[in-house]
């Protein structure tokens, strides 16, 4: 009996890297970012790290745009992928 199919453990992008299907990616204007962590709290994929400013791990970001919506400084814009 293989039990591995039943279990999952918290790791970055546990369902795999995003790959090439993301249409828009959030880009942070570092001059506007205040480091308030609002985007960090809301990101459903947990791919945003905030020290002084927000940094997004694009390997796992799905481009949902929640961070842009919640950003109080309007520091995030969704940019079309090439």
């Amino acid at each position: 009996m293989r039990l591995e199919p039943l279990f999952s453990r918290a790791t970055a992008g546990s369902a795999g890297e995003t790959g090439s299907w993301r249409n828009f990616k959030p880009v942070v204007d570092l001059k506007k970012c205040s480091g308030c962590k609002e985007c960090f709290y809301y990101c459903p994929e947990g791919v945003i790290e905030v020290r002084d400013v927000a940094r997004i791990d694009y390997r796992f970001c799905k481009g949902c745009g929640v961070c842009q919506m919640v950003c109080r400084q309007k520091a995030i814009t969704m940019v079309q992928e090439e």
């Binding site: 009996m1 039990l3 591995e4 199919p5 039943l6 279990f7 453990r9």
Partner: protein, 354 residues
């Protein structure tokens, strides 16, 4: 110790001896007396279990799945519409490879509304990945329920014990109680506080296919263990020299045996193969049946009776009688005349005993 018990009470007595940590159930006819008895035992201190009152059968199975995940020995019981409501969670129990024991007082599912016995609820469990045993009488209801706890924990597969609604669930017989010291709980894994792990998150790729494959193989292989330790998959009644065999399961088997005895008295070499388990399906035994086979079903598909389809799937041609739907119980005389026509070659391929 011998006691006069209905099959419902016999199941409750077996559960008392197995001492589950958690019992959760919702009342439904004709199963209710099982959990009524158990709740009395918990109330009086005779049974040291946590009895969880729930708002539905879906929740009842949810509670026992949660408790079993943490390593608790668990029990629930249901019937008919209750099983239908619980159905989704039954898949989760099997797929999660959790030892769970459930009693099913088999009853018709509406419409038309009917509280009496047949096997249509029971047969809806076939593809879940559960082990399914079907008792013939109150004694077997007791033995199978007690064994179900051990078997389920041996193989980490849920086990159902079916009894026929009313003809067994509410009919008293003498039962010999077997007191055993139940061994400590065994299971493939436990999830405890402090473990950073999620059970059954969404899977991709081949994960589900592998899990389903393993469950199918383990279910099939549990047949050997049932033959060795748990009384076997089938009972053979007067089959040793038989030219004709009747395949049947559940309480109706007793009436079929009476009808077979009448034909034996007339010199017909006929016997009964009673399926004690329908999952794993006793395919080896079925393949060794004599050439002339009649399957008596209490549940139907559009093709033929459910067990008839399964016997045919083992490569065994058979005649089929669909009987006892919604409490339209055939009498021994009716069964005798059916069997007589079968032996004389006058029974058509599929007949309904209406």
């Amino acid at each position: 110790m011998k006691k006069l018990l209905t099959s419902n009470e016999a199941v409750a007595e077996a559960v008392r001896i197995a001492k589950p940590d958690v019992i959760a159930a919702y009342p439904i006819t004709p199963q209710s007396p099982i959990v009524e008895k158990l709740s009395e035992m918990v109330e009086s201190g005779k049974l040291d279990s946590k009895f969880v009152r729930v708002e539905s059968e879906h929740s009842a199975m949810g509670v026992v799945i949660g408790a079993a995940t943490a390593g608790a020995r668990v029990f629930t019981a249901t019937s008919s519409h209750g099983l239908a409501y619980m159905y989704e969670m039954c898949w989760w129990a099997a797929g999660s490879r959790l030892p769970v024991v459930m009693a099913l007082a088999a009853r018709s599912i509406g419409a038309p509304w009917n509280i009496h016995g047949d096997h249509l609820d029971l047969m809806s469990m076939r593809d879940l990945g559960w082990i399914i045993s079907v008792a013939e009488n109150a004694q077997e209801a007791f033995d199978m329920t007690l064994n179900a706890f051990l078997l389920s924990e041996d193989v980490s597969i849920p086990v159902a014990v079916a009894i026929d609604g009313f003809t067994m669930s509410h009919t008293a017989e003498v039962v010999k109680l077997r007191q055993i010291d139940i061994p400590p709980r065994k299971q493939a894994y436990r999830i405890l506080p402090g473990m950073e792990v999620a059970l059954n998150a969404v899977t991709f790729g081949e994960a589900r296919m592998l899990a389903r494959y393993d469950l199918a193989r383990d279910l099939e292989n549990s047949a050997d263990l049932i033959e060795k330790k748990y009384g076997g998959l089938v009972e053979e009644y007067r089959l040793e020299d038989a030219d004709y065999a009747v395949v049947v399961t559940g309480g109706l088997s007793g009436d079929v045996k009476d009808a077979v005895d009448m034909l034996r008295d007339e010199g017909v070499k006929i016997g009964v193969m009673r399926l004690r388990f329908i999952r794993p399906f006793p395919k080896k035994a079925v393949r060794n049946l004599p050439p002339q086979v009649l399957v008596v079903d209490r549940a139907n598909t559009d093709l033929r009776g459910v067990l008839s389809v399964e016997v045919a799937a083992c490569g065994v041609d058979n005649k089929n009688v669909v009987a006892g739907i919604g409490g339209r119980y055939p009498t021994v005389d009716e069964l005798y005349s059916c069997l007589r026509r079968f032996v004389d070659g006058r029974l058509s391929d599929v007949e309904w005993l209406i």
